[in-house]
């Protein structure tokens, strides 16, 4: 039997605000335990939450960016459960009337474009952290994270492979960092993914029973966890077993998922509207101001790059991987006037060097202006591709500006015809065997001679000129 995997994702994005969603405590990462936990965050009796305007604005920005409906009136609810890192005994979240509903995000997976529907996105507060290391048989609680604003973004079960799920998660990650509502730091937990996975025979309309994989904090784990889970479900069904609805955890060490709790043990959260918080109203003027301040979005920029710079759809997608990368490319393209060369250098030499040094584009030792100047020198014939790479190395090492490096290292292409002729004559004299072979009809011998001339000129000769001169001499 042929099986189809069905995946929906729930993504928790930590909103990039200065202060918490319901208190004036700092949200900065890495502070000493409980030094950023106020009376509201630790739930002392008598305190009241006051909603952070910045968090609401982040949610509006997201809703606009995915073309969603913004609920002009939205409501906070209490989600009740007991856990020591949730001091109130409930999490403030949004259930019946979330701020964002019915959006969509375009992805490209396996070369095909697809639209993933976004069911909803709602604001909520994060819990604290439990440290299970042994404190005399007790658990340590750090409430610095308690009350940090989150936007939980829920997709429809529109994905059919782990590749599509990863493409969606990546597109979402790019978007939330692009519009500045989340720092995207997955190690620090700013972007956490839960995956709902089920399988069904190809052609069947109804969905299979799903299991939810919790808290995946890298794209690689997301892919591995879904692949393992789907295989496990198919094997279980083919062996005559049944899938029970459950929550599972992924273990990166074994690459397997294991049950955390079954549906019978599932929480009964007893949601109800939070009487401490009034409904939130979004004014049209506020929404319009947020819309006006939105940057050009990745999809629009990809279309423009293809139109204005003539780069391929694939290249446009790579170049808009982040806002910083897109801005860098555009600066290089404009400075050099050579957008295609700029795209090749940014995605090739520059990206490779950044990856080798584990640097982000924002930390690049070579500025966009410098790379633009380098490309101009390729375009005007001063540098060959090979010499340009040497100049690039100089720029990377901080050896100065493009023209200074060219002068200091003698890297200009040879323009003096006399100097080139001397080299060609010497090479011909020293390689009589190749010359005879070429005259006997062996084309390969010609290439060997070109290589020798290039080598003797230490790469400075212009390959086109070498070709012409050799042909003339060998006639």
């Amino acid at each position: 039997m042929k099986w189809e995997t069905v995946i929906g994702l729930e993504v928790h994005t930590q909103l990039a605000t200065q202060s918490k969603i319901f208190s004036g405590s700092s949200t900065a990462f890495g502070a000493a335990p409980n030094t950023q936990a106020s009376a509201v965050d630790i739930a002392l009796p008598g305190v009241l939450p006051v909603l952070n305007k910045g968090a609401v604005e982040c949610a509006i920005r997201f809703g606009l960016a995915v073309g969603a409906t913004l609920n002009r009136v939205n409501v906070f609810d209490r989600k009740n459960y007991f856990y020591p890192d949730l001091p109130k005994g409930y999490q403030i979240s949004q259930l019946a009337k979330p701020i964002v509903e019915h959006g969509a995000l375009k992805i490209v997976a396996d070369g095909e474009e697809k639209t993933i529907r976004i069911t909803r996105a709602h604001m909520e507060e994060d819990a604290g952290k439990s440290l299970h290391e042994d404190f005399h048989g007790m658990t340590g609680i750090d409430l610095n994270r308690a009350g940090t604003p989150l936007l939980e973004i829920v997709s429809e079960p529109d994905m059919r492979s782990s590749a599509e799920a990863v493409a969606y998660a990546r597109a979402l990650h790019t978007l939330v960092t692009w519009i500045g509502i989340c720092d995207g730091n997955m190690q620090e937990g700013s972007f956490r993914v839960d995956a709902n996975v089920s399988v069904r025979p190809v052609g069947q309309q109804e969905f299979g029973t799903r299991r939810e994989i919790k808290n995946l904090n890298s794209f690689r784990f997301l892919q591995q966890a879904i692949d393992y889970e789907a295989r496990w479900q198919i094997e279980t069904l083919e062996d005559g077993g049944r899938i029970q609805q459950a929550t599972v955890l992924f273990d990166p060490d074994t690459g397997e998922t294991r049950m955390m709790r079954s549906k019978e043990e599932a929480h009964d959260y007893r949601y109800f509207p939070d009487p401490d918080l009034l409904p939130v109203r979004l004014d049209e003027s506020w929404i319009e101001a947020v819309r006006a301040a939105l940057p050009e979005l990745p999809a629009a920029m990809q279309a423009r790059f293809q139109r204005e710079y003539g780069v391929s759809a694939y290249d446009a997608a790579v170049l808009t991987g982040s806002r910083a990368l897109a801005a860098y490319f555009e600066a290089v393209a404009q400075k050099s006037g050579q957008p295609k060369l700029a795209a090749n250098w940014v995605m090739g030499e520059l990206t490779a060097a950044l990856n080798r040094s584990e640097l982000d584009i924002a930390q690049s030792p070579v500025s966009a202006t410098q790379l633009g100047a380098l490309i101009s020198r390729i375009q005007d014939g001063t540098l060959s591709g090979k010499l340009a790479r040497q100049v690039f190395e100089g720029l990377w090492e901080g050896a100065g500006e493009v023209d200074a490096i060219i002068a200091a290292r003698g890297l200009t292409q040879m323009s003096d015809a006399g100097e080139l002729e001397t080299i060609v004559d010497a090479v011909l004299a020293a390689n009589q065997k190749s010359v005879e072979e070429f005259r006997a009809g062996k084309e390969k011998a010609f290439n060997a001679l070109v290589g020798q001339v290039m080598k003797a000129s230490r790469g400075r000769a212009n390959p086109a000129q070498v070709n012409d001169l050799l042909k003339t001499k060998l006639q």
Partner: protein
């Protein structure tokens, strides 16, 4: 709708309230009186009326996004039963 004693015990367990059978039966009777009240209200025709999330027709006031809280950890932890290295200690929880 009315509640069984088992419903009452389950709600008590979810709320971490310990009750014995006598208390459960007394609470069941009280809660069912409340359900009677709800049933009476549900007889009212509410067609065309927008559901309310709050008793008053007012909206949430918003705070500017700024850090206004200082660190009062020492004061808070002075009344905690057990602390170590700045952490609150609680009976061990492993899921």
């Amino acid at each position: 709708m009315s509640l069984s004693t088992d419903d009452v015990k389950r709600i008590a367990s979810l709320a971490r309230i310990e009750i014995d059978d006598t208390q459960a039966q007394a609470t069941q009777a009280q809660l069912n009186t409340i359900f009677g009240l709800i049933a009476a209200m549900q007889a009212v025709n509410t067609a065309g009326i927008e559901p309310m999330a709050h008793a008053q027709e007012v909206f949430q006031r918003l705070r500017e996004d700024a850090v206004t809280e200082a660190d009062h950890r020492d004061a808070f932890q002075a009344i905690a039963p057990a602390v170590e290295n700045g952490l609150y200690l609680v009976p061990r929880v492993i899921e």
